[in-house]
């Protein structure tokens, strides 16, 4: 197991130097190909050359690889943490293993700060990491709050602890950051449709995960409108976090219809699904991620999410709607692959 590379990536996260990204990405690829037998087989199958000179050539494993195999670039015996996908398709969980969360924690914290997201008091619409030890989202919440249990308002059965939530809102006049899944926000809104709160100036809401796989932009607009009305914050103060269990870093967008951007230790490509090559500018394609934070698994992940690269350097997430795929009368023997973050 390497600590040198980990130190190098940690340094990069602290002082990102775009000129060094390529070199570091290729070094991580070389390390992972050497230390991760599953990835080595995959690279061999694809005919990947022994040496790469560009991060864009790094083979990306499909997300589902985390369900099929142990994608681990360190000895299994050193595993300390395991994040799991929700496993809603009956195929079991995708698992992301770590020997240490140093890099993961740094990616969460540095990423949050990179986007100048406010360090307000948090109200987390998610379970505390002690109650959801396999949830990467809860872990992220724990990292951002210092694992302050009082900030988490989703109890074990998934219900919102409304009394505690209201108490947190009324605690003091400082701004708040409400952070949770879109579904948790929706649940709260449906439970208390008449709720009207004026959050202090500077408060934000951060929703995640809700519309991945739905492609319901109008629903997102509706949700943001409801959050805005019920919590007294502008639409411009509502953010989306785009992350997944298989990644260590997060991408963020603000408001509706705006690009997602990642921190400097990430890159993305939009891949034409028909040819599996980089899509022409402005064309819709699948997002392929490179995340230096993924030292302990693989840095290249091929997602199933559709997006369009934007002139501002980000991507506009279109989502993916499995229901839109006409299957005909030919019975789909199982649901097609869907990925959800636990």
């Amino acid at each position: 197991m390497t600590t040198t590379l980990e130190a190098e990536v940690l340094n990069f996260l602290s002082e990102p130097d775009p000129a060094r990204f390529e070199e570091l990405a290729v070094a991580l690829f070389n390390y992972q190909r050497r230390e991760n037998p599953v990835y080595a087989k995959y690279c061999e199958f694809l005919g990947t050359p022994d040496t790469l000179d560009s991060w864009q050539s790094i083979p990306a494993v499909p997300q589902i690889a985390f369900k099929r195999s142990a994608i681990r670039s360190f000895p299994a015996s050193l595993t300390t943490t395991e994040f799991r996908t929700s496993g809603t398709t009956g195929e079991g969980h995708g698992k992301h293993f770590f020997p240490s969360l140093r890099l993961y924690e740094a990616a969460v914290q540095k990423g949050w700060d990179y986007f100048q997201l406010p360090r307000n008091r948090f109200v987390m619409f998610m379970q505390h990491p002690d109650e959801a030890p396999f949830s990467s989202l809860s872990s992220m919440g724990g990292i951002l709050t210092g694992s302050d249990r009082s900030r988490f308002v989703i109890c074990n059965n998934g219900e919102v602890e409304i009394d505690r939530f209201m108490a947190l809102l009324g605690e003091c006049p400082n701004p708040l950051t409400l952070f949770g899944t879109a579904l948790a926000f929706l649940h709260l809104i449906e439970l208390f449709p008449d709720l009207r709160i004026q959050l202090p100036e500077g408060s934000i809401a951060m929703e995640t995960g809700g519309f991945k796989g739905s492609g319901r932009e109008t629903s997102k607009r509706c949700l943001y409108g409801q959050i805005s009305r019920q919590f007294g914050i502008g639409i411009d103060s509502i953010w989306n976090e785009y992350g997944m269990t298989e990644l260590s870093s997060q991408f963020y967008s603000r408001n509706i219809g705006r690009s997602h951007h990642g921190p400097p230790w990430t890159r993305f490509l939009i891949v034409d699904p028909e040819t599996n090559r980089v899509a022409a500018p402005g064309e819709t394609g699948l997002i392929r991620m490179i995340d230096l934070g993924n030292l302990w698994s693989v840095i290249g992940i091929q997602t199933q999410d559709l997006a369009v690269e934007q002139p501002d350097g980000g991507f506009l997430l279109l989502g993916r709607d499995p229901a839109a795929v006409p299957r005909g009368c030919s019975r789909a023997m199982d649901e097609l692959l869907q990925f959800a973050r636990s």
């Binding site: 195999s69 699904p273 559709l306 009368c329 030919s330 023997m333 199982d334 097609l336």
Partner: protein, 373 residues
């Protein structure tokens, strides 16, 4: 309009649609004769056991059709016209141009009413409702069906192949015929071929054949969502081919036109269709392997078409057995989903007692008819 005229009208309209099969006037007459005997053409009740009977169409018939293939929609409509019903067709929201074209080719009085959104009255008033669609759609519509209405469901099905021969170019061509028509969305296209002998060799030869013959897409390039699903599937199986013993994967170079997957596991795997075929070894325990899907099996294509293949196909639950290459070409007389096609659209009226008691003398009818005029 009498039966003979209806048959002639269907035959004329069907001339533009050769893929519907033999819908010549003699062919239709033969089909009616096979399924309903003389009952549809007879003006008098026919003897049946101790009683007599006649048949009358269920009228009107509502056909709720899906977007995957026009074939099934037109078959259902033609059945309705044959028995003499009024036909209403709820089209998919994107429409089905072939149904419109067929309707336009019919005489006005036989044309179905078409709608892309379902008028509520249609469900209430239909004597029979035929539905092609997903389990969810069927469930939703079924809640609105009364016990007094006949409800004919053509839900999602799977078709498969059973092959006990080598992958010759001829067989590969026939597999392609079954696989690529309607982008594989029809329920009669195979999703998986169970192969005796060296199934990896078979899969490799099939992929080689596809690569050399480069079968073109029937339809336009798939939408982004579909292409995304297909790409995800391709990448998953490439990964599995790299990391799991016995799994092999071949794809059309630089495109999503086709994929051949060799999967040694008897477990079912999702198939995104659009030219995607699984090759698996024939399971040792056929009964167990197909137990959970036997109710969903439509057609089993076999090669060779011999007694052993037919016996296996019937045993695993086939509703139709045919030669590979003919899977998407059922005869007009086929029992769709294992059911009679015309008899489902009529009601049988039994008339008991001596015929002389209830057959109205023709002479007494004539003056009444004259009076009425």
């Amino acid at each position: 309009m009498d039966l003979e005229t209806r048959i002639a009208a269907i035959a004329t309209a069907a001339e533009q649609f050769p893929w519907l099969g033999d819908l010549s006037a003699p062919g239709i007459a033969r089909w009616i004769g096979l399924e309903l005997g003389q009952s549809l053409s007879s003006t008098q009740p026919l003897p049946y056991g101790k009683q007599n009977y006649l048949v009358r169409p269920l009228d009107p018939i509502l056909h709720i059709v899906s977007s995957n293939t026009p074939h099934a929609a037109l078959q259902s409509l033609i059945r309705g016209i044959v028995v003499g019903s009024t036909n209403w067709i709820k089209l998919p929201k994107e429409g089905l141009v072939e149904v419109n074209a067929f309707a336009d080719a019919l005489p006005t009085e036989l044309r179905p009413e078409l709608a892309r959104t379902l008028p509520p009255a249609w469900i209430d008033e239909a004597e029979a409702v035929v539905i092609f669609g997903s389990d969810e759609t069927v469930r939703e519509i079924s809640l609105r069906i009364l016990p007094s209405q006949r409800f004919i469901v053509h839900g999602h099905k799977i078709s498969l192949g059973l092959i006990r021969s080598e992958c010759s170019p001829d067989l590969a061509n026939r597999i392609a015929d079954d696989l690529f028509v309607f982008d594989q969305l029809g329920c009669l296209s195979p999703q998986v071929l169970y192969v005796a002998g060296d199934s990896i060799e078979f899969a490799w030869r099939l992929a080689q054949h596809f690569e050399q013959t480069r079968p073109a897409r029937i339809a336009a390039a798939p939408q982004h969502e579909i292409a995304g699903t297909l790409r995800a599937f391709h990448e998953e199986w490439k990964f599995r081919a790299a990391t799991e013993p016995g799994v092999c994967f071949w794809e059309s170079p630089g495109a999503l036109a086709w994929a051949v997957v060799h999967d040694p596991s008897p477990a079912r795997a999702p198939n995104p269709l659009y030219g995607t075929i699984f090759i698996k070894p024939i399971p040792a325990d056929l009964r167990s392997a197909f137990l959970r899907v036997r109710r969903h099996i439509a057609t089993v294509g076999v090669d060779p078409l011999d007694s052993e293949s037919v016996e296996i196909a019937v045993r695993i639950g086939a509703q139709r057995v045919c030669a590979i290459g003919q899977m998407q070409n059922p005869s007009v007389t086929w029992h769709h989903d294992g059911q009679p096609t015309l008899a489902n659209f009529v009601r049988y009226v039994d008339i008991e007692g001596p015929a002389e008691d209830w057959i109205a003398p023709r002479k007494t009818q004539a003056p009444e008819d004259s009076t009425a005029q």
